[in-house]
Structure formats: structure tokens, C-alpha cells
Symmetry: D2
Subunit: 350 residues, 4 copies
């Protein structure tokens, strides 16, 4: 693949510091299933970064799997999960939550964010409904940080959402597939300890943030989900060589690598945003993290699809196309330059 | 972990040739989900090794996941899967098949092998049962090559089993978690093309055979399972960075590495078997592949558990213990020497 | 319960002609599971009424069960079911479809009806979506006749919807929980043979239409769902005494009883609608079948809830309440009179 | 069906006293879903008969459904259910438990009974197994009273089994599909209050014991299963006209009808047993309730299948056939006479 590649943030192997650590430990003989010392060291570093010394931490291989396992284990059989209608679990996971027996209850959103007021109103209507014993009970709230639109929950927003959940006695879970690009974003004010304090579960994304694969599911309070080890085994999500994920997270949480990765990706996206603004290309919305959503005319789309790999996002009512560009730890300055040149060349195509 | 480690064959990272290939391709930008050129190259090499040019090949991250996905997709909702009672899916996958809605129908075995006659008799009894519409229909046959006891199906046995299945119109599926140790075993006469010809699905194990993780599910006849891509996405088994698995299988199927790995593990196990025989330690059974099952007196068990990591297998009626020793591509001669010394030292303990 | 009861159409036992037939056959000794002669006679009468001589007909005990069984068997594991957002399966079946592993894909509606154009557009967008292999595939269409709002599909509308489904190669299924009140409605132009011709599956409701319990699932084309007998056994929906359902449907399809039941319920509802109009009580919408949806001021609601059993439907934005009144085969003229008197007495309460 | 019918105990409608009560209440207008006064009266009578004033009681339509709902709700997702290998849930419910996601763990039995020692040993082996986190955890025990072989647990046996379960902290559940024929059996010493005291859940069978349909699931301790109402709705097992089941159980628990029904069925079976003994026909085992298992030569089988409806049970190794004869509340003396005459006529056929 020689072309400019901005279609996703999971297009390269792993960050060189991760690869170095994998290479160093490659011939160590370890116990399986994450019961080894390297995995324990990674878990301990994550607990410290989250200031959650009691946290249960598990490494799984991918995001859809992690969402399905955590949500499936937090919900009771008669419950469903509340999510912004744009949530990844709503549409883009091939029905994984439903295949596990649970309904996703979609709610209106603001630029991908679920607002506390929206959740509160839904819960109140549910409790007031005389036929509620015939309905799916809302049993937890799912959010993404950053959201699928690259936007961020502020600390105030997350605190409110957490308050609504705690008042209702239902868990709050945050999908952190791209969490590095929140933590490394200048506009962000939600830290890992904040997530650990305000959420009942969240995951720290590895696949899109510097690892070959792997996500770290964190339950800040020990014992939140009983027998989670057996449950992920049952779901085919328990890695025999758990240490391969553990070693990678150990590297990611050494010397601030995880946030450095985030900063690099966001800085690259900021350069793209600035360049697009300079050549008059509108964006779908003003998201501050590693994803950029330019709005293209049909003529621009045709030209630019030939120049760079991008992801189709949606078609607007006026016929224009929204594309998604993603930057990550591996994005090179010279590729951003070439991309912006391509945009500039067709700035006047309508 | 400084101690002698024979507890499993998934205790090290990946074979150096695999790591080299991962390192070389680490910064290549690729499409996700296995739709990249490196994965396609790996699939093509597997098709050639199997002499199955039309085969559908998918990379998944682990064995339980692969078994659950393949079996769940091959069975109809009213069907169950026939397996030797010792089959991995019967006991050691935390109920993954049942969690997917299907019954495992356990059958008697011979040293871990399911015999054609046993399957034929079961199918005949089912068809003759007047209440069969109230029963779980046997919808496929699951075997392992090598078996959980390290034994092998001969080509004759596999051919007979395949014949029974085809006559009944039900698929035959082989779990190849340790397939390298069958292919690399002098006693083996079942080749990859044989498996592709006689089975409707099988998987080529990577996790236990030289990869960091990964199994290659092979359906020799194209289109055997419709929408398998979406099904593994739904099950959380679709790797975003599919190329990380693809690159590893590309290395494993280059220059005969997969069989070399198998030969190394079997040779190490052969040395262990010879050494145990020399010091009079009995084995549970005479399996020719990379697993060895010594029978220990309580006193021997106590001593040897302090010397080496082994896996508890079962307690015999006479009170002696069966342990499981596994060798693999990374087993070193000097460690085998130290292990055999330890056994010799306690040969007379009863 | 001495009070006026208009809360549901499943509040009495069975129509006297059904009870008579149950009594006559009570001591007949029959085979179980619907394999008896009385059930076969009922199935044959249904086939004749539908002019579908090849139809597979099964008796199940309730509507949620029938929907879950039929939908679960018609969908492939990677598919979901399209439904009006007001469809009974969307909200009021406690997540039964999702518990069976499938997503309900809700679509906009017109007074409870799903329009052909809406379905066509959704299917086109799905097919054009570049990430469709990561999405739930729309695998069938669910409608209700009459709808949850008491409205009816016209023959033209149903023909169009059927055309869209057949073009797309996906089945159309009609929930006929209240089908008698469609067939017995003067405004209706969709006959049983029309349903059998245009749908791939539908059910003829018994529970709300004169039976103690029971629904007849009809697949007009033989073999539409293989092993449906075993599937309903697995779902706990196979009645050991299938003949008790069979006998009831035999009675319902003798001497036009099923349509007579419908006509009675609709006539009672028509009287209610006329009476409400006369005293100025507005309706939510103008539905022609056995359900009536008066809009009440808070003061009216308080008074009327004390006079009659009704079902809360929803709260309008202006603070008024919509209630649901249901008539059925057992609704008595004198009760309608008393109900209308009660409405008249509080006609001026605001 | 004019022939002698001994094939099952679910071949007639309902006991005349039940039918009378259904007829009397047929036009009463009641709330749905078992929330009516007649159902509450039935529940109260059952609580009194069980001396379990706090019991939760629910009416479901059939046995497979009740087993699947109760077991599915008592088990955690990582658990399976222990059962005698002959248990109804093991084989004859089309995989309903597995379709709900749980493994049935079959154990050896004695004439259909599961012994306390067998369960204790299994639980101990499980707890001692070093790989138990990869296994299905035994989460409850399922038994049938009477068993599938018509045998009975004695009070001593049930007390021991209950003790093992309570020590292990897992629930004990009894399938009472034919419970009337235990309660009405002279050899029985387990009363309803015993069941309520020793089990965590059980069901009182209606379908085979005098009702048109219906089983009463009893949880002696209130709140044993949270949201069971919603769970049975989700499983399609909530009857809209719950009162139709309620009225029947109200009749069954009035004036000792339930035990009278049991006594009648057992007395008829006793007459059959005595008659078979008199003409030298051996039985598979000596069960004291309403089922009889004669062992027939091939020649006898051929003749007798032409004379009476019976159920095929199994083929013995010596080629003889075991049939199952069932008596019930509706079995007539003259039919027993005719049946015994037929047996006598072919007593000498070998």
C-alpha cells in the first residue's frame, strides 16, 4: 500500500517502543491466560495511572469483543444498554450486543455525546410507565471517550452523567477505543483517575493506540463482575498467551508512551484541520481529537478518493459527502503535507 | 519465570522467523479486517499448502473462539455437535458451545479418538428414535488432530470418519490447535491436503505453533459458511489489524517453518519419552506428538512439582497422578536434560 | 371485577361456541403435540380459509412466543428484523427478539403502518453502505394487521410492501394478534387469502379473538421453516396437549365464527367512537378496528379512571393523556352504554 | 381415536371439576398476565398447600418452558445444571437449556434418581480441579419427582440431596410434571411442604395432572428470582389470559382434587402392574407411580402395538423392547381390563 493512508487509525503494526519490548521478552517462558508476571506488572501500572489500586484489569483482543463482554456481564437478562444512537455498539458491531441477548436502547445525542438530561428523562419515563414490566429495563449507560465523532466529554459532562447513573443505581461504561487521543488532546480535561472515579467500567484502547492488538478492560472497584475470567473464556476472548497483550500495555504505560502516542495523533489531526480551514474545506463538526470529517463536493470526492485512502462517513441532504480522516501515532508529517496539497489542488472543485 | 517450564506449549512469544517478519512489516500501512495484501498472501500460501485453491481462510485470535465460531456457524439451531467426551469443546472451553445455543453430544473415545463406528451407531439410533423430533439432532462431528491426549488419527481412520459424515450429510470439523505437532510427527500420515479433502472445516493452530496468537480457519469449499466475516465480527473475533495475524501465518507458511516447528516440538517430546522410559517412569498412554503424560506416585509428584512447571491432568483410581508435559518450538535441549535429571533423581520414590 | 372493563381484549375466557366444542371433545383420547385428528382438522380449515392448500400451520400459546419463534427461525444469525418503531416487538415484548440474538431495526411509521417506500429506502442505503459487512443485515419485515394503533394496511399498501420484500428476497411477516378485528372491519379490504398470497408468514390470533389462548402460525408455502416443530419444542412453545389449541381453532373456523367475533368487537368500538364524537371527546387518531384512543384532560382522566378499566397509552406534549379502550367478542351493549354515559358526564371537565 | 390409549398422560382435556370451574368463570372480565383475583386465589391455595406463605408462584403453559425459564433464571452465565443422565432436560427437550446458553452436566443415576453422594463427589472434584476457571461451574441441581422412570425420591433421599446443595450454596429444583402421581402414591413420603422446605424451586404439573395446560412454578422463598415476570414475558411464557391457568389451579387445589387425580392414576397403574405380573410379563423396573414399563418380545410388541397406543421406550441388549404405559385421571377401568386382556392373549409369544 503505497498511497497516502488516512482511512483508519489501525493501519500499522505497533509503536516501536512496544515492538522493542515484545522483542526483549519474546523467549521468556510464562504462564498462560494473563496469570504471568509481565501481565501483572502491566495491570499494576494501569492501576497506578488510574489511581485505582483495587481495580480489576483484563486484557482482551479487540473492541467489539470488549464491549460485548463487559456489557453482557454488567447487564441482567431483562435489561438493555442505553447509548447515543451514534454509539459504536448501535450500528457498527454487527449486532454483537443483541447476539448476546440484550437490546441497545438508542438515545438522541449532541455531536456523538449523550447528555445527562437525556438519560435522566428516559429513566424517569421508564419508571413512570405502567407497562414497564413488559419492557426492557435500562440497565446501564454506554458512552465513548472520544466519541465516534471525535468529540470529548468534558469533566463536567461526565460528572453529571455519572451522577444520573449512580442516582439510578446503574453502571456507567466508557468505550476508550481511542482513549489515547483524548488523553493526549489539549482540549481534554478528563484524566484516567477521573474515568476510574466516575465510571464503573471502561477500557483503555490498545489496537488504535500503539499496540498490535489488545484492549485493557478496567473495573475500578474490585469484584464488579464476578467470574469475568471464565466469562471471557466462554466468549472466546481469553488470550492463551495473555502476556503478549500484557507486555504491550506494560510498554504503553511506561515513560508516558500512551499519552505521547495520543499527542502525536492529535497534533497530526490539528495540522490537517488547520490546512483544510486554510483552503476553505468545511468540516462536519469541530472535533478536537485524531479524527477529521471534511465535507466534500462530488467532484472533490472523486479526485481525492484517487489520491488518498479515506473512509466514507455519510451523504448530506445537499448531496455532499462527509469523509473521515484518521491520524495516529504512525502518521508522518510528510504524508500530512501531501494530503493537504491534494486538498488544496481541488479546493475550487464544486 | 526462571524455572523449568513444561506446563504448556503456549509459554513463549513467537518463533524468531515470525518476529522478524512482524518487525519488517511493522510500519506498512494496511487496510483493516484482513482485507490487506499481506493477509491475502498468507491465505494464498495456506491454500497452496492444502491444495485447496478455492478455500475460504479466516484468521481469528484463539482456539476457543475459532471452535465456537465455526461450530456455531455450521450447526442449524436445532442441532448439536458430536465430539469425543475428551474433546476440548466438551469440558475446557467454559461452555462456549452451549453459550452459543448448542448442545455438545459426547461420545465414547479411544485414547481421545472418535471412531467412525461410534458415530455411525449414534446416527442410526437417532434416526430410528420415534421421538427424534423432540431431541437435539446430531448436526456435525468435531475431532482434534492431534487429540487432547496427543494421539493422531491415521489417514484410514480419518477417511472412515469422513465417509460416515458424508453419507449422513453432516460436516466434519477438525480442531488443529496443535496441528504443527501432527504434521511434524514421524508417525503421522495425514497431510494438509488430506485434511482439506476429508474435512469440511478445520483450523491451523498458530498460538501453540509459533505465533504470538492466531488460528487460521479453513473451509476447503468456498462459501461453506455464508457471511462468516460478519459472523466473526458479531462474535468479537474479527481482528481490526487482521494483517498482524496474516503476517504471522505468511511467515509460518514460508520455507516450511510450520512443519519445522512441529518437528522440533515432537523431537523434544521424543527425548522426554525416551528418558522417562529409561528411568522406569510409566506413561498414561503412548502418544507420538508433543505432549507426554507421565504417571507419578504422590512422593514423585511432590518433588517434581518443585522442580518444573507441569500441568495436572488427572488422578488415577490407585491414587497416582497423571501430569502433562508439553514441548514446543521453543523447548531447549538443556531444559529437557534438566527435566530428565529431575525425573531420574526421584525415580525410586514411591 | 365488577367494574366496566375496557382495558384489553383478552379479559374473558373463550367464546361460548369455542367452550362448547372444548366441552364436547374433553374426554377424547388424542395423540400429543398437535399430531391428533382434531388439530389436523383445524389446520385443514385454516388452509381452506386462506386458500393455501400447502400451508404449514402450527398452534402456539401466545403472541410474543409466536413472534419470537417465527422471527427467530426466519432470520439468519447475521440478520435483524425491520419493524415500525411502534411495532409490538420493538418495545412491548421485554426484548424477546434480542434475547433470541437478533436486532430489531426500527423504522418511521404512519399511524402504526410501515410504508413500502420507507423499507425500500432503508434496503437501498444498506446495500450502498461500504461498511455493510460490519452491520446487521435487514433480513425480514415485520408488520401488524391491524397495527398497534388499530389502523389497517390496505390491499394496495400490503401489495407494495410485499413487492419490495420479494424484490429484495426477504420474507414479510404479519402479526395478526387482532386479525379477527381486521377481517371483521367494514373498512378492511385484505382477506386471509391475500395475506397468504402476499406474506411469507403470519399468525391468526386466538387469544384476543375468542380463544382461551392460542395463535395459529401460518407459512403459506410448505417447508418455509425447516424443523419448526423441533424449534418450538426447544423454545418451550410446543403444547403437549396441542389438541386443546386445535379444537379451539376448529371452532373459530367453523360457521364463520372468527369473522363474527371480529364484527362484534368492531361494532362495539364503532359505537364508542360515535359516542365520544357526540360528546366532543377527541381521538388520537381515526382507527377503524376494535381499539379506541380517546384524548383526556387531566381532570377527565382522574374521573374516568375511577369509572372504568382503561389502559394508559401515552402523555401528549400539552399534558393531556391518551388512553386505550378495547372492545372484543364479549363486550356487552349495556357496558358500552355505561361507558359512554361516564364520558358524557365529564365531557366539560378541562 | 377409538383405540386403547396408554401412550401418554396428556391425552385428554381437563378433569371435569376443572372444566366446570372454567365454564363458571368464562365470562368474568379480568386483568391480564395473572394479575387477576382468580389467579391470586389459586396462588394463595398453593401457598397454603405448601405451607409456604411467602412463596412466589407463577403459571406457565408447559413443562419444557417452565424448566427452561426456572433453570435459565437460577443459573449465572458461567454455570451449568447437574441432572441425572435420564433427566428430561438432558435429552427430551430439544436442547432448550443449551439454547438458553447453559450446559447440562449429566450424572449417573439409580433408576432415574440422582443420589446425594454422586452430587457431592462431582462438586468436590470440581472444586479441586486446578483448571476450574476454564470449566462450566455446577450451579444448581435438577431432579424430577416422580422421575422419568416413575420412581420416587424418599424423604430421606431428598433431605440428603438438599443438604448437599445447601452446603454447596447452590439451588435444588424439582420438575413436578407428574407431581400428582407422586402425591397420590401410597409409597410416597414427600409432601408439598417437604418440597417447599427442601427445594429452592419446583413446579406443580398441571398438563399431565388434570388441567388443559399449565404448570405452577413455585419459589418457596420470596424474591428467589428477581424480575421473573419480565423474564417469562421475554421467553414468550407469560400468558395474556393468565386467569385461564389460574382458574384451573384454583380448581385443582380445591377439595383435594390434585391428590385425588394422582390416586386415580396410580391405582390404574397398580392394576396394570398386577395384571402384567399375573400373566408373567416382566417390567423394566419396579416403579410405584402412574407409569409402567413392560418388557416385550418382538412378537409381543408387534401384536400389542396393534391393540393399544403405547410409547416406545428403549431396546434392550437382548433384543427385547421396553414400552411405556401411562395411566392418568382419565384412565377408565374398562380400558385397563381390555389392555390386560390383550397382554394375556399374547403372554406366551416369544
Amino acid at each position: 500500500m503505497n498511497r497516502l493512508f488516512f482511512a483508519s487509525d489501525y493501519a500499522s503494526g505497533c509503536h516501536p517502543e512496544v515492538l522493542k519490548r515484545l522483542t526483549e521478552t519474546n523467549l521468556v517462558r510464562s504462564a498462560g491466560y494473563g496469570l504471568d508476571e509481565l501481565s501483572e506488572s502491566a495491570r499494576e501500572k494501569i492501576r497506578q495511572a488510574c489511581r485505582a489500586p483495587e481495580a480489576d484489569v483484563f486484557f482482551l483482543s479487540g473492541g467489539t469483543q470488549t464491549n460485548a463482554a463487559v456489557i453482557g456481564c454488567l447487564l441482567k437478562p431483562w435489561q438493555g444498554v442505553l447509548s447515543a444512537a451514534t454509539g459504536h455498539i448501535c450500528g457498527h458491531e454487527a449486532g454483537a450486543i443483541e447476539a448476546g441477548g440484550h437490546k441497545v436502547l438508542p438515545l438522541p445525542h449532541r455531536e456523538g455525546r449523550l447528555e445527562a438530561e437525556t438519560v435522566r428523562n428516559f429513566l424517569e419515563r421508564f419508571r413512570a410507565d405502567e407497562s414497564r414490566d413488559h419492557l426492557v429495563e435500562p440497565g446501564m449507560v454506554y458512552i465513548s471517550q472520544p466519541t465516534e465523532y471525535g468529540t470529548l466529554y468534558s469533566l463536567r459532562e461526565l460528572t453529571e452523567l455519572s451522577g444520573v447513573c449512580r442516582e439510578a443505581g446503574i453502571p456507567l461504561y466508557a468505550d476508550g477505543a481511542r482513549l489515547a487521543y483524548a488523553l493526549g488532546c489539549p482540549a481534554n480535561d478528563v484524566t484516567l483517575p477521573d474515568l476510574a472515579r466516575l465510571c464503573d467500567a471502561f477500557y483503555i484502547g490498545g489496537t488504535k493506540c500503539g499496540a498490535l492488538f489488545g484492549e485493557a478492560a478496567v473495573f475500578p472497584r474490585r469484584g464488579t463482575v464476578p467470574h469475568f475470567f471464565t466469562m471471557i473464556k466462554q466468549r472466546g476472548a481469553l488470550l492463551a498467551k495473555g502476556f503478549v497483550a500484557g507486555v504491550q500495555f506494560e510498554a504503553l504505560f511506561t515513560d508516558g508512551l500512551y499519552e505521547r502516542i495520543g499527542r502525536h495523533g492529535v497534533a497530526a489531526a490539528d495540522r490537517i484541520r488547520a490546512g483544510l480551514a486554510a483552503c476553505g474545506c468545511p468540516l462536519l463538526l469541530n472535533a478536537p481529537t485524531n479524527q477529521v470529517f471534511p465535507v466534500l463536493s462530488p467532484a472533490q470526492e472523486e479526485v481525492l478518493r484517487g489520491e488518498a485512502e479515506m473512509t466514507f462517513w455519510e451523504t448530506l441532504e445537499d448531496g455532499r459527502t462527509v469523509m473521515r480522516l484518521a491520524a495516529d501515532w504512525a502518521t508522518r508529517d510528510e504524508d500530512v503535507d501531501l494530503l493537504l496539497e491534494a486538498f488544496r489542488r481541488c479546493a475550487d472543485l464544486r
